[in-house]
């Protein structure tokens, strides 16, 4: 019985990492830098959903939509003020990584200023989870896993089938060629930021429902998301989701045997092993072959 | 005989970039390698300098087998090359770019601790020697400029000066006058001839025919990876096979 519960624990944690990883690797796909700001978008969405729902008393669905819009607006603003000037000056990807960390600190700083350090919660009723095939899982946990699967399938279809998705993949492969054949690079970049921010926002709100929210939770989550997308295959967005599930599982199974203090260390040891032996990740395929196939 | 290449072969996914290629380079001579685009000239250079490994064939350089050696080992044997696209270090000064090719033994960390005086002394010697080369190519006043701040022509000259600074007897020059105005082309030609007179052996890839004809002691023509003709410039000029290769005559 315990083992199946362990798998579920892993999937629940993995679903969160998967959503953040997809948000992370979408941006990496287009602008080729490791952007830590989705971690801050994750936290902003959770707090704004909390504010709209609990403080202003709006219906949960409205609060959800408003929170996602806030998150998307913030992401576009960050792209405009911080990332575009840096990209225009062709600064290297490490400078962008550092700038994204600066953005992360600024956003979480403001959230701390506005909401203070209290841990907040949506106050959902706590019921014993449903008992099925030997493990126990609550409603919100189910929604979490289902959402990550839906997002996985959605992204697969979106990237392969839709015009927009193909344009994104073309840009991912080679920006000059893409702009050459008439793809509006600026538009696609903004759309990518919108989708990425929305995904990070959904992850944040779901975590808010599942556990509770505090201004500190974004940093570790985005680092795990980054790890997941490297393991899945950094050039391949849907693969990042699988990377997330893998980390969730390995972490939870790991601390079954090791002292639980090593939970984060386990994820990063996997990251380092992948970086050294298989930087492309499990599904990572050189984007060139992928599009020229 | 300085360099001898025997039935060299390199296959890139089905296409024979270099196929049964044989030639020799004479000591203290200027030999140029010509041929239409895609004839495999730069691939031959990459094979000689060890950047890529041949599928078949041997390369002898003053009694050493080069095939299988790492690039930096081949460089140490006294064979240096310039790159088609200039590979200078942009944010290092012209002098630093040159010193880098000379001071291999000075650069060990343990020397820094145990014999700093030796380093300072040899560094000055190196600096003087490099100034001589800069004078030879005519840009001594630019020694303290960052490479990225030099004009395209000056960078070409610096690239040559840097090749000289290695003191290596055989220098491989990959299109030394590519994209250069005629006045500078003549200047580079005189420099290369002066270098030959100082005892160096040069192997040049170049497209500019009248530059090739004026400078070469021997011309080797490459087409589809094989040597189709070699000899003094005049003989090559009106060799029928060479014209066909260039004009794309009856392909077999």
């Amino acid at each position: 019985m315990a083992f199946s519960q362990l798998i579920i624990n892993g999937l629940i944690a993995g679903a969160i990492y998967a959503l953040i990883a997809s948000s992370f690797s979408l941006i990496f796909n287009i602008i080729k830098f490791m952007d830590l700001s989705p971690g801050a978008i994750f936290v902003t969405a959770a707090f704004s959903a909390y504010a709209f729902n609990v403080l202003f008393g709006l219906h949960f669905l409205i609060a959800l939509i408003l929170a996602i819009t806030v998150a998307v607006a913030l992401a576009l603003l960050v792209n405009l003020i911080v990332y575009q000037p840096l990209i225009k000056r062709k600064s290297d990807s490490f400078t962008l990584l550092l700038a994204s960390f600066g953005v992360f600190l600024i956003i979480t700083g403001f959230i701390l200023l506005i909401f203070g350090a209290e841990v907040r919660t949506f106050g959902l009723p706590i019921t014993k989870g449903y008992e099925l095939l030997g493990f126990i899982i609550t409603k919100t946990q189910i929604t979490l896993i289902v959402t990550s699967i839906v997002v996985f399938i959605g992204l697969q279809l979106f990237m392969k089938k839709t015009k927009l998705g193909k344009a994104m993949r073309a840009m991912a492969d080679n920006k000059q060629v893409a702009s050459g054949i008439g793809i509006n690079v600026k538009k696609i970049t903004n759309i990518t930021f919108i989708i990425s921010a929305a995904l990070a926002a959904i992850a944040g709100i779901l975590v808010g429902l599942e556990q509770n929210i505090d201004h500190n939770m974004g940093f570790l989550v985005i680092l795990k998301g980054l790890t997941a997308s490297v393991i899945g295959g950094i050039g391949n967005v849907p693969a990042a989701l699988i990377g997330g599930l893998i980390i969730g599982l390995v972490e939870n199974i790991g601390i079954w045997y090791l002292p639980s203090g090593y939970k984060d260390a386990i994820a990063f040891v996997i990251l380092i092993i992948f970086l050294i032996f298989r930087p492309k990740g499990i599904f990572g395929v050189k984007t060139r072959e992928e599009t020229s196939g | 005989m300085v360099l001898k290449v025997t039935n060299l072969e390199k296959d890139f996914g089905g296409i024979k970039a270099v196929n049964n290629c044989n030639f020799e380079i004479k000591e203290n001579k200027i030999t140029t390698l010509i041929g239409p685009n895609g004839a495999g000239k730069t691939t031959v250079f990459n094979l000689i300098t060890g950047l890529i490994k041949p599928d078949k064939g041997h390369i002898h350089f003053r009694g050493n087998h080069l095939v299988g050696l790492k690039p930096y080992k081949i460089a140490r044997l006294g064979l240096t090359r310039t790159f088609q696209l200039i590979r200078l270090f942009p944010k290092l000064t012209a002098m630093e770019n040159m010193l880098l090719v000379r001071s291999n033994e000075l650069e060990r960390f343990k020397d820094l601790i145990f014999n700093p005086k030796k380093i300072r002394h040899e560094e000055n010697l190196n600096k003087q020697r490099c100034m001589e080369f800069l004078e030879l190519v005519g840009i001594p006043e630019k020694h303290n400029f960052l490479a990225e701040n030099l004009s395209f022509g000056q960078q070409k000259l610096l690239e040559i000066a840097r090749a000289l600074a290695t003191e290596s007897p055989l220098i491989l020059l990959d299109e030394p006058v590519g994209g250069v105005n005629p006045k500078l082309r003549d200047k580079i030609r005189n420099i290369l001839i002066k270098i030959k007179e100082q005892g160096r052996t040069l192997l040049i890839i170049e497209h500019d025919m009248n530059f090739v004809m004026k400078i070469s002691d021997k011309v080797i023509v490459l087409d589809e990876g094989t040597v189709i003709a070699e000899g003094p410039p005049k003989k090559i000029q009106n060799n029928k096979k060479v014209l066909d290769a260039y004009l794309g005559g009856n392909k077999k």
Binding site: G116, A117, I126, L220, G261, K263 | -
Partner: protein, 379 residues
């Protein structure tokens, strides 16, 4: 080549000059006017422990406001200066150096985090400045020096009381501990295990959770596998563990030390947090005693929420110090001896007596959570 006027280097030097000037100006503004007693306070106002840091700050501000309202100490108003340490020892020491040397404070309340307290203690001791922390529970603070006091009961008495309660009242023979991987969590767990095994009980497993962790599921699963009679949950931010335990269908009786009683326990864990026994300093927020209920009213009116034990400790700390100041002005040796001599002080956080190491002896009571209330259970 003449070096052109290098514009960026000028900015660099200007930034440094501005920084130094602003520090110097800060110093001058800060000079202590004669009719004021300056007390320093170092709390974790950001980071994971910010919640507790801010609670302590609220307790201190409430007490200082009250003292100043009725004339301050011997006619001198108390000026409190809060510094943030963010649980980083280097920052705490910088704050202490500033408070001691610039603000000339003789008393430092805090720091919040134990690692910072351990770093600041030698600085305070060396400058003969009183360091009074209402919250740090690291056992090693006991030997940190003569000028070091704390009015939070360290882990030991709490765990001993709960071990006895579990063994004798609840007849538990096997137990597991789930503790926060910090100094207080570790000492709670170790002391509980020592006492429980001394009584003849058996410890099935001990699980730690990292500060700031929200997902306790796998640790709870390990405990569920061993099915102990009782789970000793020790450490702050444990509300989520209780919620997830109930979600995982764990019905085992949970017991805890004082860290359980946090204002947002029921917001997060809801009804699943009912039926838990825990040890507590005799500060009972809804006790009828006049001194406590009066304090609770003032706290609620000022902050809109019930006071927690650390805020109450902080309030008592300020009151104790103001009494010492009345007697000895700012002579820290006199204050030190006065504090050591305190016996059975009717504090808001319980009847306080100090031992020779500056540790506090307060009677502990057992409380229970019943329909979302913290209820007195037994002595």
């Amino acid at each position: 080549m003449k070096r052109k006027l290098n514009y960026p280097r000028i900015i660099g030097t200007i930034i440094i000059i501005i920084l130094i000037i602003s520090i110097v100006i800060g110093l001058s503004f800060n000079s202590q006017t004669k009719e004021e007693i300056v007390i320093g306070s170092i709390q974790a106002l950001t980071g994971e422990t910010a919640k507790h840091g801010n609670n302590v700050k609220d307790g201190i501000d409430l007490a200082v406001e009250e003292i100043n309202k009725n004339g301050g100490v011997n006619g001198k108003k108390i000026k409190i200066i809060h510094e943030d340490e963010n649980c980083i020892p280097t920052k705490a020491v910088s704050a202490a150096q500033k408070l001691i040397n610039i603000d000339k404070t003789k008393i430092i309340l805090g720091p919040t985090c134990s690692s910072s307290s351990m770093a600041v203690a030698p600085v305070a001791e060396q400058n003969k400045v009183i360091m009074f922390t209402p919250i740090s529970s690291v056992p090693a603070l006991r030997q940190a020096g003569d000028y070091i006091f704390r009015n939070r009961v360290s882990g030991e008495p709490h765990s001993i009381k709960m071990a006895n309660f579990a063994y004798n009242e609840l007849n538990a023979r096997t137990a597991s501990t789930l503790y926060i991987n910090l100094d207080n969590g570790i000492s709670y767990s170790e002391e509980f295990i020592k006492e429980f095994e001394k009584l003849g009980g058996k410890i099935l497993n001990t699980e730690a959770y990292e500060k700031g962790l929200q997902d306790f599921r796998t640790q709870l699963l390990k405990i569920k596998e061993n099915n102990p009679d009782v789970i000793y949950l020790a450490g702050q931010a444990s509300q989520n563990a209780i919620k997830q335990a109930r979600e995982l269908g764990i019905k085992t009786q949970i017991i805890a030390p004082t860290t359980l009683q946090e204002a947002d326990l029921f917001d997060i864990a809801g009804d699943s947090a009912n039926g838990i026994y825990y040890s507590y300093e005799s500060f009972d927020p809804n006790s009828k005693e006049q001194v406590v209920s009066y304090y609770q009213e003032k706290y609620k009116s000022k902050y809109g929420r019930e006071s927690e034990v650390f805020a109450a400790n902080a309030y008592d700390a300020v009151m104790l110090i103001s009494k010492a100041l009345e007697k000895c002005e700012e002579n820290t040796d006199c204050i030190k001896n006065h504090l050591y001599s305190i016996k059975n002080y009717e504090g808001v956080s319980g009847i306080t007596t100090f031992d020779k190491d500056g540790e506090v002896l307060k009677p502990l009571i057992i409380k229970k959570t019943e329909n979302r209330k913290f209820v007195f259970h037994s002595n």
